[in-house]
Symmetry: C2
Subunit: 389 residues, 2 copies
């Protein structure tokens, strides 16, 4: 087990109707005027935005609306938000939505008190330590941004998609989590979110750090819960209980509890980001294609933790590590397939992927040799991309 | 799953030598003068206290020493501490020790800013919302107080042992956790701590709240990690890695992550508290006697969750619930026995327990009908106490 610091000062308020506490919680952390960040029409049509606004008004918290945040959020909206906040003396963010909305709110929160270009933090030029407070009303269980210190923003100039990770500066002050708000998510988005949260765990699980039994077991536990609950959500989208289990699993998958004391990987995310950038696929669905291919490569070259995954998560019995790994991968693909997720390029609708381009962009962005659990050069990543065919 | 609020704003700093950060962390939360609370001679003899004091001095944090806290800490020391803090303008606590030391520091922290008697909070007369900041250097993984919002204090007048639970007011601001500090714990204390943390999970695990798969799986995961690591710690007390796994497990067992969204029980703790009060046994060892007896009663009367425990934690195969429950209990007893823990009154050194007295004190303190997973009257608790013979 490696040394670690774990600090998650997010207050989670979970249950039916908790969006009505948005005002009370904003006020409790001293906010007087928030930027209300949201995405497309669904939060408006469903009446959620109105309920949140009523709650703010009832608690005398002023607000400005900042809607229309798109998936794979971009820096232009961040600059715009920062300018509004400064001009209007906004003192905090309230994000109503999923990962893209929350990540945009976090980026604005970081940029407002900083005199330079907010992108400096994403470019790794300096460490993020101060930000305006961010509150969340979560509508999509997937990205885990409601509990993480992370934010992913794409710079339009060059389409650089960068994930910024902070220890605590960007962790939301509160997250209001009502599983009912996820009832109307389309099946494909629900399933993609499930893949996303599972991969947040797997990127931490596949490690060479020895003696991390406690986080291994917690990670396996969250994976098993997701595997148990996901088919129920798909079969009955308005089943509160399975929605609740999935929603809380998505938070635990990414708030760090599955990653304490261990090296993490995140190379599958990097490989998927290139696919998203070129072909515009849904992130979670892209991960469902990348991860089994990456695991297959590992089953051949470095199977031990993949085998443990097969045995402990899917109850594979094989004694041989390569076989146990392979059977585990097949079980994972079958599971994701059962949710309607693709597990190949063709399934993503990409009939003739430009693998040379993907490999070249990947290493250009991330370096010649990448990956934590196993170091991958260009010929390795080419093999992995080809395994997605 | 029930609605819940989960808020754990404790910064955990985990690894070798982290006690040297006591000053830096105290200073980072604005402390100028702390009450340094500790127990017996081991923290002095080992040099730990000196290292902590050096760290405080190096960060210009003044301190007053307040040592000699005993196991099952009492209100007299709390009153004494409160008086010192007020007189000397202490602005925070630094607890160096295990549960008794931390719980005393928490009680003092609660009492200083309150004009009335600090016991009002423990007596349930009012809700704890404000306290001085508490920092921790943990030396005993067991009580989980380094991450919990709880504090257990015994009132000398009447020997009332009361556990106060707060949502966040009493959660430490930081916890410094160096597994090396636990190398010198005597085997019996190590084993008792392991039983204590396992029971913190079980009191949450045995619930009738339906649809809590995510917390069931996390709880089972932490239990499995403890069961895997505990024999290593007993065999080799200076094995850093297994000590680290056990130490972090003790925190996760009681910081609430295993309990979100579910009714909890805590009747085994109540039954053990009476044994401790009358016979002065070690809390964790007492729990190792109480819990299998309570589970045996449940195997007969309400087996479903006990059976799930047997199947998922100890891989029991029996299809029948009562049988699976019974086999799980036998496995748990064998496991605790293998650590050198007692699982009967005789094992605790109590040859002729006064069961009438225990039953009568229990119901006098807790009410005529007690328990969450199954409601127990006097004749039920008498049966359970007799099952400990």
């Amino acid at each position: 087990m490696n040394d670690f610091t774990y600090y998650t000062p997010t207050k989670y308020v979970f249950g039916r109707g908790v969006e009505s506490k948005a005002g009370e919680l904003s006020s409790s952390i001293g906010l007087k005027k928030v930027l209300l960040v949201y995405g497309g029409g669904s939060v408006v049509r469903s009446g959620l935005l109105d309920r949140v606004k009523e709650s703010l008004t009832a608690s005398n918290v002023d607000f400005l609306e900042f809607g229309g945040i798109q998936p794979n959020p971009t820096d232009d909206r961040v600059y715009e938000g920062i300018e509004i906040c400064r001009r209007e003396n906004v003192d905090g963010m309230l994000a109503v939505g999923g990962g893209s909305v929350i990540d945009t709110a976090k980026a604005i929160a970081l940029g407002v008190p900083y005199e330079g270009d907010f992108w400096d933090f994403y470019a790794g030029k300096l460490k993020a330590e101060t930000a305006l407070p961010v509150g969340v009303v979560l509508t999509i269980p997937a990205a885990g941004s409601e509990g993480s210190g992370n934010s992913v923003i794409t710079k339009l100039d060059g389409l650089h998609k960068i994930s910024l990770r902070t220890e605590s500066a960007l962790r939301p002050k509160f997250a209001l989590m009502n599983p009912e708000l996820t009832f109307t998510l389309p099946p494909y988005q629900t399933a993609s979110g499930i893949a996303d949260m599972m991969v947040h765990i797997l990127e931490r699980y596949f490690t060479n750090t020895p003696d991390v039994e406690i986080t291994d077991r917690v990670a396996e536990g969250v994976l098993k819960a997701i595997i148990e609950e996901a088919p129920k959500v798909m079969a009955n989208p308005t089943d509160y209980q399975s929605r609740a289990n999935i929603m809380w699993s998505g938070t635990l998958a990414h708030n760090g509890i599955c990653g304490t004391g261990r090296a993490e990987d995140w190379v599958s995310h990097a490989m998927e980001h290139e696919i998203s950038a070129v072909y515009g696929v849904t992130h979670g669905a892209g991960l469902a294609v990348v991860v089994p291919a990456w695991m297959t490569f590992m089953a051949r070259n470095h199977p031990f933790k993949i085998a443990q995954f097969g045995r402990r998560v899917f109850d594979v019995k094989a004694a041989d590590d390569k076989l146990a790994a392979t059977e585990g991968i097949e079980a994972l693909k079958a599971f994701w397939g059962s949710l309607g997720l693709p597990v190949t390029f063709a399934g993503l609708g990409i009939e003739a992927p430009d693998i040379d381009l993907l490999v070249s962009k990947l290493h250009e962005n991330k370096g010649e040799v990448i990956g934590g659990y196993y170091r991958l050069n260009r010929s390795d990543t080419e093999i992995i991309y080809r395994l997605m065919m």
